[in-house]
């Protein structure tokens, strides 16, 4: 067994009679290279490690974390979590995970190739990306971000109920944000590429798409307000699915925060909407053998042909609902408590290419950027309002660019109003995969 799991064991071994103890340890190494004007702008190379401990005594739960893994840190974190537990409220369902007999998926995560890549190659990629983006069009005024980044991490969970799990992950990416100009006007766009190692990154595509998408926005105007069908590009769809995913967790449902809480077995979406959380899918960047409580990942059907099938659970919500954990425990870093969340949702794709999908829509709006999803979407009421920019769709093809608009509906309506799903699945290091998605009857606000 590895050093990290050994350390987790050593913490758990100090549990006292009547205590449930969980130790979650991580170690990660990140590299970030930014290029600007033909030079390396910054090179940031960092290793981090830390521990989060949860202690439950008599139904009371305490957490503590420390950004270090030396022996005093491990010891003090346990003591602190133990002390914190005394002040929390009693909840009979508070629990940590126990082995439930589900075998982890057979995923081979090899981070060795990424971890072993020399930094010079990463620097060269960032410099090449910046050059390619600057040279992409005579309209390019500047490349405000051209970067390479990667993260290789290991996490380990151990509990005194017998859970012992270790998860490895590695991902690298390229991202470019460019400014295109014409006279006094400037337009911007962003594109990215993601892979498990550098050979999977398509640098030319990242540069070309960032450039093309900025240039095609030149001349964008604010259109008049109206209702229409919006087509979300894959990255936008993934962001909206993440919001929907947050309403389909046991946590939201049990506390009464989900607009879909009472609706299992009912139709909550159009008949072409099938949504699955599947971290066992080896193609998903969020795939992992275990969740953040150390239980095996499993496939969780959420919506099937528009009908709500169920919710995601961690050990607490699984116990309180009587449905059991679905291996969907999620932590927001070391400092966060243990919540519930998706890491590999995907909509079942349709059969249309993006162009065929635009043709099927006829008249609408292609959204290439959304702003303010954190400020304009309320996952409890379901109200959805976001800043947008993109291209109008007229006579089934892309027409002129538009900006300074919002699109608005509700999460509930949007699921019912799904008109078409593309065949183009984009794997992203987010909680959902992207796919081109057409949603009808959305209000576009402009002039």
């Amino acid at each position: 067994m590895t050093e990290l799991l050994d350390l987790a064991d050593s913490v758990v071994a100090r549990a006292k009679e009547g205590e449930l103890v969980e130790a979650f340890l991580t170690r990660s190494r990140t590299t970030e290279v930014k290029a600007y004007n033909g030079d390396v702008e910054s090179l940031n190379s960092a290793a981090s490690a830390g521990i989060a401990v949860r202690v439950i005594v008599d139904g009371r739960q305490g957490f503590a974390y420390t950004g270090a893994l030396d022996d005093p840190a491990l010891h003090e974190t346990l003591e602190e979590a133990r002390d914190n537990a005394r002040f929390a409220g009693v909840d009979e369902f508070n629990t940590i995970a126990s082995p439930d007999g589900v075998a982890p998926p057979d995923l081979v995560v090899d981070t060795g190739k990424l971890a072993g890549t020399p930094v010079d190659r990463k620097v060269e990629l960032a410099l090449q990306l910046e050059r390619a983006a600057r040279a992409g069009s005579p309209h390019i005024r500047g490349v405000d971000t051209a970067m390479y980044g990667d993260e290789v991490s290991v996490s380990a969970v151990a509990t005194n109920t017998g859970v012992r799990a270790e998860t490895e992950s590695g991902v690298c990416y390229l991202a470019a944000s460019v400014m295109a100009g014409e006279g006094a006007e400037t337009q911007t766009a962003f594109w990215y590429g993601v892979g498990r190692h550098l050979d999977e990154l398509d640098l030319d595509e990242v540069a070309r798409k960032a450039v093309d998408r900025a240039v095609r926005m030149l001349g964008a105007k604010q259109p008049a307000s109206r209702r229409l069908t919006v087509v979300l590009e894959p990255l936008m769809t993934a962001q909206v699915l993440s919001l929907i995913g947050s309403t389909l967790t046991g946590e939201a449902v049990l506390k009464g925060y989900s607009p879909f809480g009472e609706r299992v077995g009912e139709s909550i979406g159009a008949s072409n909407v099938t949504l699955v959380e599947d971290p066992t899918d080896p193609d998903a960047f969020g795939a992992s053998c275990y969740d953040d409580e150390g239980l095996a990942s499993r496939r969780v059907p959420l919506v099937d042909g528009g009908v709500l099938r169920g919710f995601m659970h961690n050990s607490y919500t699984g116990r309180r609902s009587g449905e059991g954990s679905t291996g969907s425990a999620a932590r927001a870093g070391l400092a966060g408590s243990v919540g519930v969340g998706p890491r590999a949702m995907a909509l079942t794709p349709g059969t249309l290419t993006p162009e065929e999908l635009y043709a099927s829509v006829g008249d609408g709006l292609l959204v290439q950027n959304l702003k303010g999803l954190h400020s304009g979407v309320n996952p409890i009421s379901g109200d959805f309002s976001a800043g947008a920019e993109g291209m109008l769709i007229r006579d089934g093809a892309l027409a002129e660019p538009v900006r300074e608009i919002t699109i608005a509906s509700t999460l509930q309506r949007m699921l019912q109003d799904v008109r078409a799903i593309g065949a183009d699945v984009h794997r992203l290091p987010m909680s959902a995969a992207g796919v081109t998605l057409a949603v009808g009857d959305v209000t576009m606000s402009g002039r």
């Binding site: 600007y36 270090a68 537990a85 002040f87 604010q222 303010g372 954190h374 304009g376 920019e389 300074e404």
Partner: protein, 463 residues
């Protein structure tokens, strides 16, 4: 936190390969938080994070490395990694004399939160829960969060700067969820200051929680927000985030130097209505975005960004200021020792005007009254920004009428600033904010008197 001789030797190691500038930033942060949800104090959490980041600048390149090991060996290893990343050309030994920098005295902490019994913190949350639920059966859930944070920093650099700061922040938030046949709605109230537990000597926790509950209850009868361009009146203390997005980010020197801002090259020009005077001021203890020295050891400053509509200056950090051969404005901040500093705002606010706020509403035949804004986002290169309204009403015939459901507003920075046609005389600071930029989050304050923008696009669904 670290002995001066060790700092000097670490800076020497960082410059050994010939960098132009080196810096040691050490941080010791601890905090505690407690969250009440679903009628129970769900858990108590506390944490500690300590380490140092070493920055080396060589020509146009910045190298950065960090370590949780504050021993001399740990610091030297990080210094060598940062120097290697920056790839300076020359070599040799440079010695550094350190001179202590004193910032304004903004941190007046009465009661250090770490000295307060945990059950006192727990009790605040339980009181908030009871008070919010007392507003009626339609209050279905209450979330209340207490959080405190103490951050001790030390900065030293090869220019001889040595500075330390001890920053304590305490915050409290209540969210009520109301439910009825119209669905679920939420109401918030939040407060936070650069101070200790004495925050609660001046806070009526019960009234605070009931305010959040009443907001949620009011929204149960909210109509969908309008769709399209309308006059928008923003309440005192409720709209600083608009200035944060509409121009604040665009006045940060990192965006300016990449010409990724609509305000680049426009100092001395009229960029806003003459009613607009905008200030960023990190010295205003105990406001949420205040500190004594920034995360590069520069004392906090008061910087007038726009005076009577004319752009006067940008905000600067050390790196950008060196390139422009001018002093930093004390706006170099970072989330933690794991991050490189960037140009960031502190407390950014619109200065008082002269008009009677009630009169501004009365003079608005039809529009939207925004009592409270949520977060926002901006593209500095185009100036297009959004911000969310979490409490808003319709204005009809100069009267505030029906509540509106949540929606975003969208506008263009320079256009919106020119379109400000009324500024009230009732300035107030707003609730504490957390500003995200390039993956780093820092506490920022904002404030404004009541004001009106002649036209903003309201992103609702109603015709």
């Amino acid at each position: 936190m670290i002995e001066h001789d060790v700092i000097k030797r670490t800076l020497q190691a960082a410059l050994r390969t010939g960098g132009d500038f080196a810096e040691v930033f050490a941080e010791d942060r601890r905090g505690s938080s407690a969250r009440l949800d679903d009628g129970r104090l769900q858990s108590f959490n506390s944490g500690r994070d300590k380490g140092a980041g070493i920055r080396v600048v060589s020509g146009e390149t910045t190298g950065y490395a960090h370590t949780a090991d504050l021993s001399e060996e740990g610091l030297r290893a990080a210094a060598e990694a940062a120097a290697g990343a920056a790839r300076g050309g020359g070599g040799g030994t440079r010695t550094v004399d350190l001179n202590r920098v004193q910032g304004p005295d903004v941190n007046h902490v009465g009661v250090l939160p770490e000295t307060v019994e945990k059950d006192k913190k727990a009790e605040l949350l339980l009181r908030a829960d009871v008070a919010a639920r007392s507003e009626g059966d339609a209050i279905k859930q209450v979330i209340a969060v207490y959080a405190d944070n103490r951050r001790r920093i030390l900065v030293a650099n090869s220019d001889g700067v040595l500075a330390e700061d001890d920053q304590v922040r305490t915050r409290f938030m209540v969210q009520a969820v109301a439910g009825a046949d119209t669905g679920m709605q939420t109401g918030y109230e939040s407060t936070g200051f650069t101070m200790g537990f004495e925050l609660f000597d001046q806070l009526d926790v019960e009234e605070f929680a009931r305010t959040a509950a009443r907001r949620a209850l009011t929204k149960l009868r909210a109509r969908p927000a309008p769709s399209g361009a309308l006059p928008v009146v923003i309440n005192r203390g409720g709209g600083g985030v608009m200035f944060h997005e509409a121009c604040g980010h665009g006045l940060e020197a990192d965006a300016i130097m990449k010409e990724a801002s609509v305000y680049a090259g426009r100092v001395g020009e009229l960029v806003a209505s003459p009613l607009v005077t905008l200030v960023d001021d990190g010295t205003m203890g105990p406001e949420w975005g205040s500190f004594s020295v920034d995360d590069e050891g520069k004392p906090a400053g008061r910087n007038v960004l726009i005076q009577d509509g004319v752009l006067t200056d940008y905000m600067w950090d050390n790196l950008r200021a060196r390139k422009a051969d001018r002093p930093s404005s004390g706006n170099g901040r970072r989330e933690s020792y794991r991050h490189t500093p960037m140009v960031r705002m502190t407390n950014t606010f619109l200065v008082n005007g002269t008009e009677d706020p009630d009169e501004i509403v009365r003079q608005t035949p039809y529009g939207v009254y925004v009592a409270s804004l949520g977060g926002g986002q901006v593209d500095t290169a185009t100036g297009d920004f959004v911000f969310g309204m979490t409490e808003a009403y319709l204005i009809e015939d100069g009267q505030i009428t029906d509540p509106l459901r949540d929606a975003n507003l969208i506008g263009n920075g320079p256009e919106s600033l020119r379109n400000i046609d009324a500024v009230g005389n009732d300035f107030a600071f707003g609730p504490p904010g957390m500003c995200g930029k390039d993956g780093q989050s820092v506490p920022v304050g904002d404030g404004n008197p009541t004001l009106r923008v002649a036209s903003l696009t309201v992103g609702g669904t109603a015709a």
